[in-house]
């Protein structure tokens, strides 16, 4: 087990820089999720830790060792790939044993480790099968087994669940969590799925366009997003953004009518801001109490919840309500929110205004 440190890590392909200086440190035994939309550089970052991509600038340290110049096999890491990357011509047993065999471990040691990993992952009856005879979830488990037997200092997961169907994904998410509790090995996990990130992470690194926009626990990131991007990316349905201008202490005038009260500091009157309120924090109220009123465009019934889509001039908003009464499209809805749950962002840079 070991800590992992990123020190001003940069990556360029020729003149094109794709990672613009990431600084982060992962504590020993921590489960870190790197999350972001596709193309944000999260996989590249992970592959730099694995040694599959060269580090253009900066340093990555595993334990106390800077690994920039080390081959993947010397970094003491194990990686789980998105498409599992199992050797198709080898049995499950051989797939798991291959890395150990190359390291020159004795047959009995290999056997013991593979059997133990198979026990943990419930792969016992499948050891003689070929990967193509397995279901997606089983292949996923074999890929994890291959990582476990190595007993590495760090696990690297590259979107390991994205090829599974929704139900299996939830189940495997749970199993990965269980596994990590059992083994306690430091893990770096890349995903584009914010639900996976929220549920798995001790802490997460939210990436956007090659930058780490925020590093924090899931609840920190959810409750206190550092930028408009993070606010929009984490949470589902995503946060509502309404354009407005500062209008005196604790008040923002929305561009399409309505005044939002907020608990943030002074916003210069007339300054362009973006108001962010999560769908679950918007509540319906009477017309006099409303922050703003908008036309109902669409109603989505999700069973437990109802999502009411509102049209507010050029802005759109979603209200998440407990499943209650029927609402017609075309009617007007008055909504308000707790001022403490209102976030403000700079209209230009997207930076949080506190």
């Amino acid at each position: 087990m070991a800590k992992v440190e990123f020190r001003n890590v940069r990556k360029s392909y020729g003149a094109l820089q794709v990672i613009h200086g990431v600084d982060a440190s992962v504590a020993d035994g921590e489960f870190i999720v790197i999350v972001g939309p596709s193309g944000c550089g999260k996989s590249t970052l992970l592959r730099m830790v694995a040694g599959l991509e060269a580090i253009t600038e900066g340093e990555i340290a595993i334990g106390d060792r800077v690994v920039n110049a080390l081959e993947p096999k010397d970094r003491d890491i194990a990686m789980v790939f998105q498409n599992y990357a199992l050797y198709p011509h080898m049995s499950v047993y051989d797939n798991m044993a291959y890395g150990l065999k190359i390291r020159g471990m004795s047959k009995t040691d290999i056997d013991e480790r593979v059997k133990r990993a198979a026990g943990i992952l419930e792969l016992g009856p499948l050891l003689d099968r070929r990967p193509r005879q397995l279901s997606g979830g089983q292949r996923q488990r074999v890929a994890m087994g291959r990582a476990i037997v190595r007993e590495p200092k760090v696990f690297l997961f590259d979107e390991p669940l994205s090829n599974l169907d929704a139900k299996l994904r939830v189940q495997m998410r749970f199993e990965i969590q269980k596994l990590h509790r059992q083994l306690g090995t430091t893990a770096l996990y890349v995903t584009h799925d914010q639900v996976e990130a929220m549920t798995l992470a001790h802490r997460m690194i939210v990436m956007n366009a090659g930058r780490a926009e925020q590093v924090g626990t899931p609840m920190e990131v959810y409750d206190d997003p550092a930028t408009r991007f993070v606010a929009g990316f984490i949470g589902s349905p995503s946060m509502n953004f309404l354009s407005g201008k500062g209008a005196g202490t604790g008040r923002v005038a929305l561009a399409h009518g309505g005044i939002v009260r907020h608990a943030n500091g002074q916003v210069d009157t007339g300054r362009d801001v973006v108001v962010g309120i999560r769908p679950e924090h918007l509540v319906e109220c009477g017309a006099p109490d409303a922050m703003f009123s908008a036309v109902v465009e669409l109603v989505e019934q999700l069973g437990a919840d109802t999502l009411v889509h509102l049209r507010h001039g050029e802005d759109a908003a979603v209200v998440r309500q407990p499943h209650s009464r029927q609402r017609e499209a075309g009617t007007t809805m008055h909504v308000t929110a707790d001022p403490a749950r209102v976030y403000l962002f700079d209209a230009g840079s997207g930076a949080r205004i506190r």
Binding site: A50, L52, F81, A85, Y87, I102
Partner: protein, 282 residues
């Protein structure tokens, strides 16, 4: 297609049988001729039912040869077999390695070399046969197995096929092997070669037959009868002096013998061969 039209079935079967007959008849005639005496073969019309000289003819040709050719057929069979095996295995080994280099390594002029290999696909052996002969003779390789096989081993077709196959192997597999600690050659032996085995089998069949049926090249580089392959041997058995001077029954027996090994290779490897051509096992 599910159809129930007896008339159509009849017609299609008739066509099939017709096709089989057209293909099989010459082989049958060859076989029949190989069981007759020299006089019977030359009779007109030649009988179409096997005669009683099967063992005599085959033993004669296997042990003593026929016509102008002093070399016994077993010797020529061995030569052909060695040639075909060396060519097939050599082609596969070299093509696997060169395709592996082209797909998995980055080196200067990589694509240039690939295209150089690819362009030679356009050139049949006959086009470069004179320079090749010059090189082989300067290296004193005439009348040797090396001379028979080496110039035919380089294969653009097989290199290209393996390259295409390697490109379908996901990159993650190479990366997983790197993380597992396998060096390039280890990855080649443990992952790439086993994954290519159906393609290897298909190519083996094709290349074995290619090697076995070589005619022009062995004709040029062999002058001693002990290095004759079957294909040349048959030609040598046919005398220049007209039909009467040729022992056709023995020539036909040799022809039958020459057909057996390629047929066996196809029959034994048929399952793999078909798999290699249609299967993409990933």
């Amino acid at each position: 297609m599910i159809e129930n039209r007896p008339g159509l079935t009849l017609v299609t079967h008739a066509v099939l049988w017709g096709g089989v007959a057209v293909l099989a008849f010459p082989v049958w005639v060859t076989f029949v001729a190989s069981t007759l005496t020299a006089e019977q073969v030359l009779a007109a019309p030649m009988p179409l039912l096997p005669g009683g000289r099967f063992f005599e003819n085959y033993v004669e040709v296997l042990l003593h040869g026929a016509g102008n050719s002093e070399a016994p057929a077993w010797r020529m069979m061995v030569n052909s077999f060695v040639t075909a095996m060396v060519i097939a295995i050599g082609k596969i080994a070299i093509s696997l390695l060169s395709a592996f280099a082209i797909v998995y390594f980055k080196f200067p002029f990589r694509m240039f070399f690939f295209w150089m290999i690819f362009v030679t696909l356009m050139l049949p052996v006959e086009v470069r046969i004179l320079p090749t002969y010059k090189v082989v003779s300067d290296l004193a390789l005439l009348d040797s197995y090396t001379g028979l096989t080496l110039p035919l081993i380089a294969s653009a077709t097989a290199t290209f096929l393996f390259r295409q196959f390697f490109l379908t192997i996901p990159d993650e597999l190479a990366e997983a092997a790197r993380v597992d600690g396998a060096g390039p050659m280890r990855f080649f032996w443990d992952v790439v070669v086993p994954m290519s085995r159906t393609s290897v089998a298909a190519l083996f069949v094709i290349q074995f037959i290619y090697g076995w049926n070589q005619y022009l090249w062995p004709l040029l580089v062999t002058t001693q009868e002990s290095y004759y392959t079957v294909a040349i041997g048959i030609k040598r058995m046919i005398a220049g002096g007209g039909d009467a001077a040729t022992e056709w029954h023995l020539v036909m027996a040799t022809a039958m013998l020459a057909m057996v090994p390629p047929a066996l290779v196809v029959i034994l490897m048929q399952k793999w061969f078909v798999k290699g051509l249609v299967d993409t096992e990933k």
